[in-house]
């Protein structure tokens, strides 16, 4: 038997797609002999149950055309497909004990093309919420939920350490509780931007760019909590509401004109979900805030890079902002912008959304490779052929995800991962001598 034959993973069992033993082809599914040959019932309870959940209603509407399948990022790396969820539920599987429940990243690309408008962005959180209530949550996701509950961030870091990055910013970063006055911009820094080593680079760059522009800004500092959007999409709506309550309390304490956020997930939460919880105001992703100010940015060096841009699902497809990030990139001297085949509305998910950020280990058991790895291969094919390629991003989930993927796909040295704000900051510095 050749070792190079295609391999299928079913739960924890690994099997060869084609197995030939002593000249006899014994290819087949490992469990075929244990299952009934005929389907003897099509129980309708599972579909009734799913569509009875608030958010689950559209699951029944699928007419099995299959348009969702080729655009589903998870489909590219496994057996999963949005259409198949409907087929499974129609055959009595309510997904509660099915790994498929946790594979959807809520990227929204299936919903974009669905002629019946079946919406997994609402269906998956609704079913996951029931799994959460039953305690059937993958361990690593449970850990993230616990951390969010305890310390207001998924890493379980102390809220006091939220401002540790400031020390190396090189500019003054005012904390709103210490200002005692209204500001123009309340800058919501986000979890990964505040705590993650690579995220902090973006925070510092943003602080320097806003300072150079003379923006009147401040941050919440230790009062800031996770926006909770990914917890919501992963099924923890109670936790989302708790975090939202804490953030809204902080927002209401201070006077500011607009909220500028680093994280598209926070943008989505504040813009689309906080209003029903009692807070409404102007929210801008940082690229949207900076794009109209682009003429005021003073660039002092040319970066000379081939850059492609990864549309974050919750900035692009799910909130319709494709232009602001590109406008910023095109303004940076020396950048040659090239688009990947999956771009804008058809952008390929990094795998981090909808709780995927905290399910890497679980998901790896059910897919042939990570979504971030596929995306990195696409970026390398677009700009990474001569070693000067950059995959630019605008979401704090992505630098760590994609940098890991660059290493794991053996593309070290071919592709750098940079937040757009880091590229702007770099070009605003004097040329390196």
């Amino acid at each position: 038997m050749g070792r190079d034959l295609p391999v299928i993973k079913v739960d924890t069992v690994t099997e060869l797609e084609h197995a030939v033993v002593e000249g006899v082809d014994i290819s087949g599914h490992w469990n075929r002999m244990f299952s009934d040959r005929s389907t003897t019932d099509f129980p309708t309870e599972a579909m009734d149950w799913v569509t009875g959940l608030a958010g689950g209603e559209s699951m029944r509407d699928c007419y099995q055309c299959g348009k969702c399948v080729p655009v589903c990022p998870v489909q590219h790396v496994g057996d999963y497909g949005p259409r198949k969820l409907n087929a499974k539920i129609l055959r009595g599987n309510n997904l509660i004990d099915d790994p498929d429940l946790w594979l959807c990243t809520t990227c929204g690309n299936c919903y974009r093309v669905c002629p019946k408008e079946v919406n997994p962005l609402k269906i998956m959180p609704a079913i996951r919420e029931q799994a959460v209530l039953e305690g059937k949550v993958p361990d690593e996701l449970s850990d993230a939920f616990r951390n969010l509950q305890k310390s207001g961030n998924p890493m379980g870091e102390s809220p006091r350490k939220r401002i540790d990055w400031i020390a190396e910013a090189g500019v003054d970063v005012p904390i709103i509780s210490q200002l005692d006055r209204a500001v123009d911009v309340l800058w919501y820094v986000s979890d990964y931007t505040s705590y993650h080593p690579r995220g902090k680079d973006a925070a510092r760059a943003m602080a320097r760019v806003m300072t150079a522009l003379g923006v009147d800004f401040a941050i919440l500092g230790p009062e800031e909590r996770s926006d909770g959007d990914s917890a919501r999409l992963a099924g923890e709506s109670g936790l989302f509401e708790l975090l939202a309550e804490q953030n809204i309390k902080a927002f209401e304490k201070y006077e500011f004109k607009r909220l500028v956020v680093m994280d598209p997930h926070a943008y989505n939460a504040f813009k689309n979900h906080y209003p029903r919880l009692g807070w409404q105001g102007e929210v801008l992703h940082y690229t949207q805030f900076l794009a109209p100010l682009v003429d005021r940015l003073t660039f002092r060096s040319s970066v000379d890079l081939d850059v492609t841009y990864h549309d974050p699902c919750y900035l692009g497809r799910n909130n319709g902002e494709y232009d602001a990030p590109r406008k910023l990139l095109q303004a940076i001297p020396g950048i040659r912008l090239a688009e990947m085949p999956h771009t804008k509305a058809n952008g390929y998910c990094c795998g981090g959304g909808g709780g995927g950020m905290w399910l890497d280990g679980f998901v790896a058991e059910h897919v042939s490779e990570r979504l971030s790895e596929r995306r990195v291969r696409e970026a390398v094919a677009t700009v990474g052929m001569d070693g000067s390629g950059v995959l630019s991003v605008a979401c704090p989930y992505e630098p760590s995800r994609f940098e890991d993927a660059v290493k794991s796909t053996g593309n070290d040295g071919k592709l750098a991962v940079r937040d757009i704000i880091e590229l702007i900051d770099q070009a605003m510095q004097p040329p390196a001598t």
Binding site: Q64, C65, G66, P70, P115, K116
Partner: protein
């Protein structure tokens, strides 16, 4: 009281309605926007007609001959631009080459038809305006009516061709929730024509459900499959991207539950029906109700498919929604009978509306 029935539209529905009106002793005034009669089958260069594969032009010639009649006044390059009055006496304004004229008619038959869905519409990812080898059913008709079928990019015959069904139909997001009814049959008919012309070309039809009702099943679908070896794959295509001068279609083979990524030389989009510009305009001018898709509403369905909400105004053919030619011509006869009845003051013709 004017005895004339105004028939708006010189396609199959209008031609047959005018002929039927004259046949039962009425007078018809037939107006047509274009300089020639024949409607969409003519304008969109139909080759053979579904299901019996007869020539479209020969069939239209029969209909055109039917309106050569002293009781039918045919005016081409003429549109209806105004209307007032009610059943028994409508005053209509016609605008034609000689300018505006006013006419009095007793009843009206609307036969303004449909237009093909524009596959460049938002959310369609088929690259119709990007790749020359992505064409539509009517684009294929044009070539087939000239007895050739080649890749527009090279002028060479394709090695393989795929039809993609339900383009612009059965789609809530596009607003066209209805099935366009004829595209499964028309695609199968074109597939047969391609296989006749190019026996070495492989022809595939990718579908969600094949909707071959009645005799279209045995007269078109089965022959395509059994005699012409057209390959039917259940599964629809989501996107088309150019690759090495060919077209890579990405979709799912839903029977096998596997994604498909197949290279094709040519792809034909089976575009559905939408109300024509004329249908939308005429509805406004006559003040008749349209349904949510813009087609003329027929509140008396299912037993009365031809009465509009305005007494004395009837509809025939695809102005009232997706129709095949059998339905269209049948409706034309029914509308003609009702319209002549209304002109002659027969109360029964309004029964369905007042009910």
């Amino acid at each position: 009281m004017p005895e004339t029935v105004l028939v708006i539209g010189g396609g199959p529905a209008g031609l047959e309605a005018a002929r039927a009106i004259a046949t039962i002793g009425g007078k018809a005034l037939l107006v047509e926007r274009r300089a020639v009669l024949g409607g969409t089958p003519d304008e969109s260069n139909y080759a053979a007609l579904t299901p019996r594969m007869g020539s479209a032009q020969e069939a239209l010639d029969v209909l055109r001959a039917g309106v050569v009649d002293p009781n039918i006044d045919v005016r081409v390059e003429t549109t209806v631009t105004g209307c007032s009055g009610s059943v028994g006496d409508f005053a209509v304004t016609l605008t034609g080459p000689a300018g505006e004229t006013k006419e009095h008619v007793g009843a009206i038959v609307v036969a303004t038809g449909f237009q093909h869905f524009d596959p460049g519409r938002e959310t369609q990812m088929y690259g119709y305006y990007e790749y020359p080898d992505v064409i539509t059913l009517p684009d294929a008709e044009k070539m087939l009516s000239e007895h050739r079928f080649v890749r527009p990019s090279t002028g060479e015959p394709p090695r393989n061709v795929a039809f993609i069904q339900c383009v612009g139909s059965r789609d809530r997001r596009l607003g066209n929730e209805y099935c366009s009814k004829v595209c499964c049959g028309v695609a199968s008919k074109e597939a047969i024509e391609i296989r006749r012309l190019l026996p070495d070309t492989k022809v595939y039809i990718f579908y969600i459900d094949m909707r071959m009702y009645g005799y279209w099943e045995n007269e078109i679908y089965w022959p395509a499959q059994e005699q012409y070896n057209v390959t039917y794959i259940r599964g629809i295509v989501t996107e088309i991207v150019g690759k090495d001068g060919r077209l890579l279609m990405k979709g799912e083979d839903t029977t096998m539950g596997r994604p498909l990524e197949v290279l094709m030389d040519m792809i034909v989009l089976s575009v559905g029906m939408e109300p024509s510009r004329g249908t939308r305009d005429v509805a406004g001018i006559l003040g008749i109700e349209q349904n949510k898709y813009g087609f003329i509403a027929t509140p008396g369905e299912p037993m009365d498919p031809v009465s509009t909400n305005v007494p004395g105004i009837y509809v025939a053919g695809a102005a009232a929604g997706p129709k095949d030619l059998e339905d269209t011509v049948g409706m034309a006869g029914a509308a003609a009978m009702r319209a002549v009845g209304a002109v002659r003051g027969l109360a029964r013709s309004e029964a369905a509306v007042t009910r």
